[in-house]
């Protein structure tokens, strides 16, 4: 069984929670006691039918206000696949949550209300999916029941979306599916109400879409997370480098280069605990031993000599600002990249992207919460990195305010 992580994005009231509730309900991932609790709360609020949205609106605060305020993770499985859903709210002020949910997703479902078509929020969600390099996008045209299951309405929305999305460079695989989350049309089973639709149901698509294509299996990258040195007689000389492979394939006997030292040596053995492996690839967590004893510690990067990462202190990146306090001029931030931590300074704001129109706004001198911009950075030590386009793990970073310790921004390196 393999694993698909997907994110859902939609505007207020376009039935996103209902869709997730429907997937969980129809895949029998809702248990009796959860159903009972939902019935009780539906009855309390005076709803006639069970409100499937109640299943995903987790916290007391948001149930009272009837909105979702944070990323919530949901799980379901079919005999074919396990699924992890990052459920993110669609409000304007919560761009940061969408960015968060999208950062680990292989696929994004973007919900469009059939009565309203492609609106500003649809564009914003698509832009973020594109920015975060989610390879597969499903545009689910929801509430088809309220649009008389009309093929014309659906086709017009598809056309509209295609026109707009041609401006997005990374969205390579877009699938359109007309659904009614409320009634279950084309969610798990093909709908009889839309015989004009020749594609598959949403769940069938989720079960069969090709995953892991976004892992980079070419450029070998191993950020060292931990040095294992057993203090025992039996393992007296053992010195292992533990971490998670971030790209490419490592094999015993491969020649590697360690940064920042630049020393070369050969991989001796690769382990997953007691088990010796003949190869390691992303995203495996492993421990490797080397033929020569060279000085390597946490934050260093082991690569293969045929593909060297960028080594720079002056960087360009797209960032999304997360903090409710705007950027401060010349403030020093902590930058966390792979297992490394350095100091960083934003040296230039190049332009901001209006996430609703995709227009560039030039001549800016700072950022507020939920804004996305191209910036220049200078770090206190060089980073060993790849462009985010080539590798999501070695191309991403977060910025931390050293005074509050809050994560204030997420960044993608050029």
């Amino acid at each position: 069984m393999d694993l698909l992580r997907f994110t859902t994005a939609g505007s207020v009231d376009d039935g996103k929670s209902t869709l997730i509730g429907r997937l969980l309900y129809d895949s029998k991932s809702i248990f009796e006691d959860q159903l009972e609790a939902m019935e009780t709360s539906s009855a309390k609020k005076g709803d006639e039918n069970i409100n499937l949205a109640l299943l995903t609106d987790g916290l007391k605060a948001e149930r009272e206000q009837g909105i979702t305020i944070d990323v919530a993770y949901r799980y379901f499985a079919t005999p074919k696949r396990k699924f992890i859903i990052a459920d993110t709210p669609g409000h304007t002020q919560y761009t940061r949550n969408m960015v968060t949910g999208a950062s680990t997703a292989n696929l994004a479902i973007i919900l469009v209300d059939a009565r309203h078509g492609v609106i500003e929020q649809t564009k914003r969600h698509s832009f973020i999916a594109d920015l975060l390099r989610i390879q597969h996008v499903v545009v689910a045209v929801n509430k088809m029941d309220l649009a008389d299951y009309s093929e014309e309405t659906y086709n017009a929305i598809v056309q509209d979306y295609k026109e707009f999305s041609s401006r997005l460079s990374n969205l390579v695989d877009i699938t359109f599916i007309p659904i009614s989350a409320l009634n279950g049309d084309n969610v798990v089973d093909k709908s009889e109400n839309m015989d004009w639709y020749g594609g598959s149901s949403l769940l069938y698509h989720l079960e069969n879409v090709h995953v892991n294509s976004e892992e980079n299996h070419v450029d070998a990258r191993f950020p060292v997370q931990w040095v294992t040195r057993p203090q025992s007689d039996q393992w007296h000389d053992f010195r292992g480098y533990a971490g998670r492979v971030a790209g490419g394939v490592f094999k015993p006997g491969d020649t590697i280069v360690a940064y920042p030292s630049g020393f070369k040596t050969t991989i001796d053995k690769i382990y997953n605990a007691t088990q010796e492996l003949d190869k390691a690839f992303s995203p495996q967590s492993i421990t490797m031993t080397l033929k020569d004893e060279i000085d390597i510690s946490r934050g260093d990067m082991i690569v293969k000599e045929n593909s060297i990462p960028h080594i720079e202190q002056n960087l360009e990146a797209m960032i999304c600002w997360f903090s409710d306090k705007p950027t401060q001029p010349r403030s020093k931030l902590v930058l966390r990249h792979t297992t490394q931590e350095v100091q960083a300074l934003i040296t230039d704001f190049k332009y901001q992207v209006d996430v609703n129109t995709l227009h560039k706004i030039e001549n800016i001198d700072g950022l507020e919460m939920n804004q996305i911009a191209r910036i220049s950075l200078r770090t206190s030590k060089p980073l060993f990195y790849d462009s985010y386009r080539k590798n999501r793990t070695t191309g991403s970073f977060i910025l931390i305010d050293p005074n509050t310790n809050e994560t204030v921004a997420a960044g993608m390196l050029k």
Binding site: Y73, R74, T100, Q225, Q234, A273
Partner: protein, 301 residues
């Protein structure tokens, strides 16, 4: 599956090991909370894998309510010895004796709520700055929003609105003096994943998880094992039934289910067919609709 694809269990394992190593690297004095339940057993097993062949670089901490099943305690001691790990015990009985907490009285008295005080006292006494817990996001709706690295303030409290966003593989464990973190390496495991992993890795579990005959009573619709801590009250009849436990909590509150599942294969079959969540048998969650959220805010796991 192609050469370079990992099964879902391999991906979950790799993620949990990454989190365990990140915890050891980012904190000065972490600890692993060990309840003796299957989730904390899996977590400790993964910790062993993460640091092998070295010993795990943190102690196992057990908050002992004094109301544990005998089988749980025996299992714990053997497990700790096999792991070659250090065990630290925080005692609820001691908290009661020292007057830190007041024992609940009445029909549904339990020590579940008192654990929180003992836990926070233990964290303070040993200056732990990160506690690894076996919590999973599929367990309960308040946990669906829990982070891998969950920030707690000076008072050990959880503020759902102040949690730090977690992106990619980047975890921010920075904190001020006095604050600490709860870390949940098994966040993305479901109950089914845990069982499948236990089966695949052949991990030993306490016998309470497997079907066996035992004297039980039924109280508020929950089947409780008769023990030193649970004695039949007037009107309750003791029955000898074939049962097993789906979670491992105090003997006073952990409900059993009637079951013939005496092997891992049968348990997995049973879990797959189950129509109740595993916490559905925990009377502590039934106190109110937001019981878990309220307890978490106070510092419960």
């Amino acid at each position: 599956m192609s050469n370079y694809q990992l099964s879902h269990l391999d991906q979950l394992e790799a993620e949990a090991i990454f989190i365990l190593r990140e915890t050891a690297a980012q904190f000065e004095n972490p600890a692993l909370l060990f309840s003796g339940g299957k989730d904390s057993i899996v977590m400790a097993y993964l910790a062993k894998k993460a640091f092998y062949p070295a010993r795990i670089p943190f102690p196992l901490v057990h908050v002992d309510t004094g109301h544990n099943f005998v089988e749980t305690m025996e299992f714990r001691d053997k497990f700790v010895e096999d792991m070659n790990a250090k065990l630290v015990v925080g005692s609820v009985q001691q908290s009661i004796d020292e007057g830190r907490v007041q024992e609940e009285t009445g029909a549904n008295a339990s020590r579940n709520k008192l654990q929180t005080v003992t836990l926070l006292d233990t964290i303070e006494k040993y200056h732990y700055d990160a506690c690894l817990g076996g919590g999973r996001r599929d367990e309960e709706k308040a946990r669906a929003k829990e982070r891998f690295f969950s920030h707690r303030d000076d008072f050990g409290q959880w503020d759902p609105k102040k949690q730090r966003p977690e992106l990619w593989n980047l975890f921010n464990g920075k904190k001020h003096q006095g604050e600490n973190f709860r870390v949940f390496p098994l966040s993305n495991f479901t109950e089914m994943d845990i069982w499948m992993y236990i089966q695949r890795e052949n991990i030993e579990l306490p016998m309470l998880y497997f079907a066996h005959k035992r004297d039980v009573i039924e109280r508020n619709g929950i089947i409780l094992a008769v023990s030193e801590f649970v004695q039949p009250k007037e009107g309750e009849t003791v029955e000898h039934k074939q049962i097993r436990f789906r979670t491992m909590g105090d003997a006073t509150i952990t409900g059993a289910i009637e079951s013939d599942a005496d092997t891992l294969d049968k348990i997995i079959e049973e879990v797959a067919a189950a129509r109740q969540t595993e916490r559905g048998n925990r009377s502590d969650d039934k106190r109110s609709e937001t019981a878990m959220e309220d307890r978490k805010k106070e510092g419960y796991f």
